[in-house]
């Protein structure tokens, strides 16, 4: 610590506060990332052995705070309280990211293992740390690979237990939430199309292929291959767009 400049020392302190890492680890990681926080966090979280064991006792205390009085799980009320405590809207997409870290099986509930395991893996053992982690969690959505994982995770998480497919309304809601981050120009048309023509649940295959569609096919549909292996629902969507004169035009305003 003595060889570090004041700015670097500040960073080390901050880093330790946020991640709960020891000073030694904090310096190591920050050096490796050339004193940039973003890189440092990345390195830190992808090397579990660097994390100090976030204090399990504290985590259990947190669990008990939110757990339902009658079941050994955190249910809707508990979650509302948690959201309050971490100053996040329950509808905020960051909740999805958190659920992903927890590997939660289904929305609106966390099992003890999910909650504890999740917080441990995130290195969070206090509400303060939790609050400070929020921006980082939000930033994870901008990473292509992580977004895809979160997106695909969302399917299993949002659907009813025991069902193989995702109810249409829920799916549309999730898409609106997710694409608010990703900006897909055809999103509205997609949802309209589903409501007008499909009216049935969404399969997992369609869900995951839609992301690929949004990422690789341009909104003018110029590079869409109708002989390709897209799910038939997406084929029908393209037909729908062409019918309504929206395909293959260059009059598109969109932000990439």
């Amino acid at each position: 610590m003595n060889k570090l400049g004041r700015g670097q020392r500040d960073k080390v302190q901050q880093f330790m506060l946020i991640t709960g890492a020891s000073e030694k680890v904090a310096i190591q990681v920050l050096k490796a990332s050339d004193w940039q926080f973003e890189g440092a966090f990345d390195i830190f979280y992808s090397h579990p052995h660097l994390k100090s064991v976030a204090d399990t006792r504290h985590i259990e205390e947190l669990y008990n705070r939110y757990k339902d009085p009658y079941a050994d799980m955190i249910l809707a009320d508990g979650i509302t309280l948690l959201c309050n405590d971490i100053q996040v809207d329950p509808q905020d997409i960051v909740m999805l990211v958190i659920s992903w870290h927890m590997k939660a099986a289904t929305m609106c509930e966390f099992s003890k293992q999910e909650f504890v395991g999740g917080l441990q893996s995130m290195g969070i053992d206090s509400l303060e740390k939790f609050r400070e982690r929020i921006p980082f969690l939000r930033a994870e959505l901008r990473d292509e690979l992580k977004f895809r994982e979160i997106y695909n995770f969302a399917f299993g998480w949002a659907k009813e237990k025991g069902q193989k497919s995702l109810a249409l309304d829920t799916a549309i809601g999730m898409w609106q939430l997710l694409f608010a981050e990703k900006q897909w120009p055809l999103e509205d048309h997609w949802c309209q199309f589903l409501q007008a023509r499909h009216n049935k649940a969404i399969s997992r295959d369609t869900w995951s292929q839609l992301l690929e569609f949004s990422r690789t096919i341009d909104p003018g549909l110029i590079n869409y291959d109708p002989e390709g292996a897209w799910p038939y629902l997406i084929d029908e969507f393209v037909e729908y767009l062409n019918e309504n004169g929206k395909g293959k035009t260059s009059e598109w305003n969109y932000t990439k």
Binding site: S203, D205, Q209, E212, A229, P231
Partner: protein, 742 residues
């Protein structure tokens, strides 16, 4: 020891020279006597001696040279001048004469100088005497005059083409020279004559063709072309060398046919299309013969043929559709007479064009394919909402059932069935045909409407041959079931005899069917009249004595009842279905019943109740009176037993028309197709493990093509369904690739 006298060269040669001179004058036609044998021997011996003398008196080489010189001298002094002063045909004649003379001269001289041939030429590796002679003639005469000769011959040929009579023997002799001058090689004939002749032929026919193509109709042109080819072939046999035949004919074909093929075929009033329209069989045969000789000649013809057949077929479709649209609306859903006529016409069309393929087009594969492609196009169009699969099945039904609309002899029936099965080959949805056929077969078998068992079996055999055993296995099962059912009935009757307590109270015949073979039927929980309930129980008891592992489901919609109607004037026996009987028996206890009451008591659907009440109150025989007495059944109607009903017959059948089977058949087939597609995809993926989307689809289509043409969208949906059911998954990196999940 005989000392031979040495012959001095000059002396010896002088002697020989006399002999040669004599030979020459013989050739020139002077009235000299021929060589006597002594003269011959003397000349020969002189040479012999001069060659066998000891050196330096061995004059072989000199004699050899002199031999050659003799030819030179003769040719230069006599032969060439005489040729040079003549022209055209006269020159040709002179040439032939001189050539023949030369050969005689060579032969004689070779005999005289024979001894040289024996030892000298091989010792020195020199050409033999005859060859020397030939070479002389060739170098000195042939090479000089060959161009003039060639041109003279060609112009004679052209004159013959224009119709003039020419001296064919002369030409043959001249051309023989071209051949023989090569001494085994055809090079001189080919380079010095044939090439130019072919070129001239090409130009000749090119001129002719350019006129004919404008002036003549297609058949006339073709006739001329055929004649030209025939005459050129004859020309070869008359005087050209046989090796010229192929090249010559090819040249003519090229100029007359290849160059103008398109124009010829597409001539407005008389081209291929017109000939087909006007059924000009002979002209079409000629067209085939001619165009089969040029490369790529038959493709346009077969294409026009294909278009023609497709147009004719589509016209039939349109005709049938128009006729159907004029039908009365209440008969719209029933496949009627117009559709039957349509099938007949399609069969006839097929016969007609197959005859074309066999006769005009000599069974060529291109035309078989054209016919097939054409039929596949319009045979899959359907008429007025009924698919061709349904039309064919109905057509067969009409032939095979009693009282069908086709009244034909046994032979005619066999023939027709044969043709229908052939048409099936063109239909993509064979499984749809199978299902319709099965439904109709069931009706025929169960209502005993089959006209002839042999025909039924015969068509199944034909279908089996064409489409495989799997296609007909269920149908064959149905036919077998009936035979077994009859046996079973015998056993049932024995059982009844042996058990007097088991008495149904009514004469009962039961046909037990194997579920898998027969089409699926909705079984209704018809409320049976009391009398019939006992029958069911008795039979059930009997059946359980035979086998305990099977479950009986009763299909009353296919039953028949004989019911006695005690009308006021007389009792008439009514032959009705079980449903109709159940309805009638209700009137044993109530005189008047409303539609709703009947429906409630019978426990049947609206559709069935309407049909059945209609047959009893609004059709030919009014067993029931209906209020109001309209022709349509409505839920507010009230029915009453018509005591006043009578008919001159004592025994009448009240027909109950079948409901609309079409929808159900299509549903069943669609369901079966989904299973078939699933099975096919799984089969393919199981063996390939990993496969790209496009390939999977095309293999699937191919596997299923024997029975139907699967829709690519349907296959896609099944793939997705199989993904959801965890049989398959997409590859993580390539969404177009699928993996089999064991």
């Amino acid at each position: 020891m005989n000392q031979r006298e040495i012959i001095d060269f000059h002396e010896g040669w002088k002697f020989m020279q006399n002999g040669i001179t004599k030979l020459k004058s013989i050739l020139e036609g002077a009235a000299e006597t021929h060589f006597t044998s002594e003269e011959h021997i003397m000349l020969y011996t002189t040479i012999y001696n001069m060659c066998t003398q000891k050196p330096p008196h061995d004059y072989s080489q000199q004699l050899y040279d002199k031999y050659k010189e003799s030819f030179h001298e003769y040719i230069t002094s006599s032969v060439l001048p005489s040729l040079k002063e003549r022209h055209d045909e006269f020159m040709l004649r002179e040439l032939v004469r001189r050539w023949q003379n030369h050969q005689v001269m060579a032969r004689w001289l070779s005999r005289f100088f024979f001894y040289l041939d024996r030892y000298f030429i091989s010792r020195r590796s020199l050409p033999p005497l005859m060859e020397v002679g030939l070479t002389c003639f060739r170098e000195l005469v042939y090479q000089e005059v060959k161009v003039k000769v060639r041109d003279a011959v060609i112009s004679l040929i052209d004159r013959e083409r224009e119709g003039e009579q020419i001296d064919r023997a002369l030409l043959k002799n001249v051309l023989d020279i071209f051949v023989e001058i090569g001494n085994g090689l055809m090079d001189f004939y080919e380079k010095d004559f044939e090439d130019a002749m072919l070129k001239d032929t090409g130009a000749y026919y090119s001129r002719k063709a350019s006129n004919w193509i404008v002036d003549d109709s297609c058949p006339d042109y073709m006739l001329k072309a055929e004649n030209c080819l025939r005459r050129e072939k004859e020309r070869v046999s008359h005087y050209l060398h046989s090796s010229s035949e192929t090249k010559l004919l090819e040249k003519v074909q090229h100029e007359l046919l290849f160059v103008y093929a398109t124009q010829l075929l597409e001539k407005e009033q008389s081209g291929c299309h017109a000939l087909l329209m006007d059924e000009k069989v002979e002209d079409l045969s000629r067209m085939y013969r001619l165009f089969s000789k040029i490369s790529g000649g038959l493709e346009p013809v077969s294409n026009t043929f294909k278009q023609h057949v497709t147009a004719e077929g589509s016209a039939l479709v349109k005709q049938a559709e128009d006729a159907v649209s004029q039908k009365k609306t209440d008969k719209k859903d029933v496949v009627g007479v117009q559709e039957q006529v349509f099938v007949r016409k399609v069969i006839d069309l097929h016969d007609k064009f197959m005859a074309y393929v066999n006769n005009c087009f000599l069974n060529h594969t291109l035309f078989h394919k054209a016919l097939k492609d054409a039929f596949e196009v319009f045979c899959n169009k359907g008429v007025a909402g009924s698919s061709n699969a349904e039309l064919l099945a109905t057509f067969c039904d009409n032939i095979l059932k009693k009282g069908g609309s086709e009244k034909l002899s046994d032979e005619a029936i066999e023939e027709t069935l044969e043709k229908v099965v052939k048409l099936l080959a063109y239909i993509g949805d064979k499984d749809l045909f199978a299902e319709f056929y099965r439904k109709k077969l069931a009706r025929r078998l169960l209502f005993n409407k089959s006209a002839n068992d042999d025909h039924e079996r015969s068509i199944l055999t034909k279908l089996k041959q064409q489409c495989g055993g799997q296609f007909t296995s269920k149908m064959e099962g149905m036919v077998t079931d009936l035979t077994l059912a009859r046996e079973n009935q015998t056993h049932f009757e024995e059982y009844l005899n042996n058990n007097p307590t088991a008495n149904p109270g009514i004469d009962l015949t039961v046909t037990v069917l194997t579920t898998g073979f027969w089409p699926s039927y909705k079984s209704f929980d018809l409320n049976l009249p009391v009398e019939m309930v006992k029958c069911i129980e008795v039979f059930k008891e009997f059946y359980e004595t035979k086998t305990k592992h099977r479950k009986l489901t009763w299909i009353y919609s296919f039953g028949t009842c004989n019911v006695n109607g005690k009308f006021e004037s007389k009792t008439i026996e009514l032959v009705v279905t079980t449903h109709q009987a159940a309805a009638l028996l209700l009137f044993n206890t109530s005189n008047r019943l409303s539609y709703q009451e009947i429906m409630a008591q019978l426990n049947l659907s609206d559709e069935d109740v309407v049909r059945l009440l209609h047959s009893l109150s609004c059709a030919k025989y009014k067993i029931l009176n209906k209020e109001p007495s309209t022709k349509v059944i409505s839920p507010n109607d009230v029915f009453e037993f018509n005591g006043k009903f009578t008919d001159k017959m004592r025994h009448i059948k009240i027909h109950l028309p079948p409901g609309d089977e079409k929808k159900k058949v299509i549903e069943d087939v669609d369901k079966d197709r989904r299973y078939a597609i699933d099975a096919s995809i799984i089969r393919i993926m199981k063996s390939r493990k990993v496969l790209g989307y496009q390939q999977l689809v095309s293999e699937c289509v191919e596997q299923l093509s024997r029975m139907f043409k699967p829709d690519v969208k349907a296959i896609k949906k099944r793939i997705e369904d199989l993904i959801t059911r965890d049989y398959l998954e997409r590859d993580k990196d390539n969404a177009n690739l699928f993996k089999y999940l064991a």
